[in-house]
């Protein structure tokens, strides 16, 4: 969405350049509990996006004056590895990653039972190892699973995906090529069970009708992702159970 003219033809014979249909997600791969030091962790692949999320906590909140006497403070840090992007990304937070960290934290806040841990911190880290558009949605999906893996009490999982407009069509889950040459991009996060939207951003230009269509499309895909997240957690849980039994 760089305000560029769409010079590239992104849809050919009813298919997108990577062969997907309009309402088709990229391939998704979820591994739970991939890190040893973290209290919870998740590796999430969305097409060529590769992200690892880790959760630490609840633990003491520093600095003290930032504690909340009534509930845990959730910290979220979205970070791109220097080699994750086409041009090397300078290490450290930039304005984009600071905004994404805020949006991601607010996407997860509604499901975390923060009131259980007054004055504590729950820290969530999402490291982008490879990026191909949609990184913030991949990060939220990974973080949601990592929170569950860490045993943080949650009302439900959060699932996230973007929709966008390319060549005049509303399509699901833009890749980098589509994002760069498309007309609009709209990341959404949702609590699938209650259809509650917890993150919503829009960028580009859409009519009201396109927006509404896009939102429905995203919500449907969030349900798909939610099932994949649940399955991954159940597998992980049953593995640990089996391990225990073996012992």
């Amino acid at each position: 969405m760089k305000g560029e003219e769409t010079e590239v033809e992104l849809i050919k014979e009813g298919k997108r350049l990577d062969g997907r249909g309009f309402e088709e997600l990229r391939h998704i791969k979820i591994d739970v509990g991939v890190l040893k030091r973290a209290d919870g962790s998740c590796y999430f692949e969305l097409g060529d996006n590769k992200v690892i999320a880790a959760v630490y906590g609840p633990r003491e909140m520093h600095p003290r004056h930032a504690q909340d006497a009534k509930m845990a403070v959730v910290k979220f840090r979205y970070n791109m590895a220097p080699f994750s992007t086409d041009d090397r990304k300078r290490p450290g937070p930039d304005r984009r990653s600071i905004e994404i960290s805020k949006v991601s934290r607010e996407a997860l806040d509604p499901v975390i039972m923060r009131e259980y841990y007054p004055k504590m911190a729950i820290e969530v880290y999402a490291e982008l190892l490879q990026s191909d558009a949609g990184t913030r949605t991949a990060g939220i999906n990974a973080a949601s699973v990592a929170l569950a893996d860490a045993g943080i009490p949650m009302r439900d999982l959060v699932s996230s995906v973007a929709v966008g407009k390319i060549d005049g069509e509303m399509v699901l889950d833009l890749n980098a090529m589509e994002d760069n040459h498309g007309e609009a991009d709209m990341p959404v996060a949702m609590i699938a069970r209650t259809n509650t939207i917890t993150a919503l951003q829009m960028d580009g230009r859409l009519t009201k009708e396109e927006f509404e269509r896009g939102l429905k499309l995203a919500m449907g895909a969030c349900h798909q992702i939610y099932e994949l997240q649940r399955t991954a957690l159940i597998e992980r849980y049953s593995k640990s159970e089996n391990k225990k039994e073996e012992e």
């Binding site: 905004e99 607010e106 009519t207």
Partner: protein, 257 residues
Amino acid sequence: MGLEIVDDIREDYVYDLVKSGKREDGRGFREYRQISVERDLIKRAEGSARVKVGDTDVLVGVKLELGEPFPDTPDKGVLITNAELVPLASPGFESGPPNENSIQLARVVDRGIRGSETTDLEKLCIEEGEKVWIVFIDIHILDDNGNLMDAAALGAIASLLNIRIPNEKYGVTGENTLPIRDTPVAVTMVKIEGNILVDPNFDEENAATSKLTVISNADGTLSGMQKSGSGGLKEEEIAEMVEIGIEKAGEIRESYL
């Protein structure tokens, strides 16, 4: 701790009012506070506007400087939007580098302008790949009494509408005004106790858990949206907010731009 209790009491007060259909300042749920836009206050800037929405007070200044284009858009000028929540404006703001709130403010205003393709960035190119105008939109918050977003976005577009390009100062030739193709207007709403309130004041903003900013253009299309806050929104609430956002933007555009 003392302060936290006061915050709780204020929140409860806002909730109780809203439940009985009222707001602190007597407005209706769909009603903006008094808006005023003063233009060209700052003669060192190429464009400026001071926007008040109730007691919220925002000064936007636009400066143009010559610089190099980005390598991937060699024929376009560069737009840089920056917001400073200076500690003068609120007891909660601190000195230091921009925090997540000021960054979000700047980036949402920026995306609203880009999304609507307000400024024709190609008109800001002087020599392809070498020399273009860098347009700095600086949002300076003076008094934060809630809903900085709408005031800042309005200040930005009002400033852009009549900038004078400083060709002479920089010894270049070209047109002196910048054609503005659209006028994106931001409308922010919060959800409190199931009700949608436009233009939240400071207490309402604090009390609400969900906030949505809807940026729309003269033709009713959307050019930006941002949900914030630690709560959720339902599909039908969002639809209603979009509806209201477009309508209110039209009213503001007509009166102040």
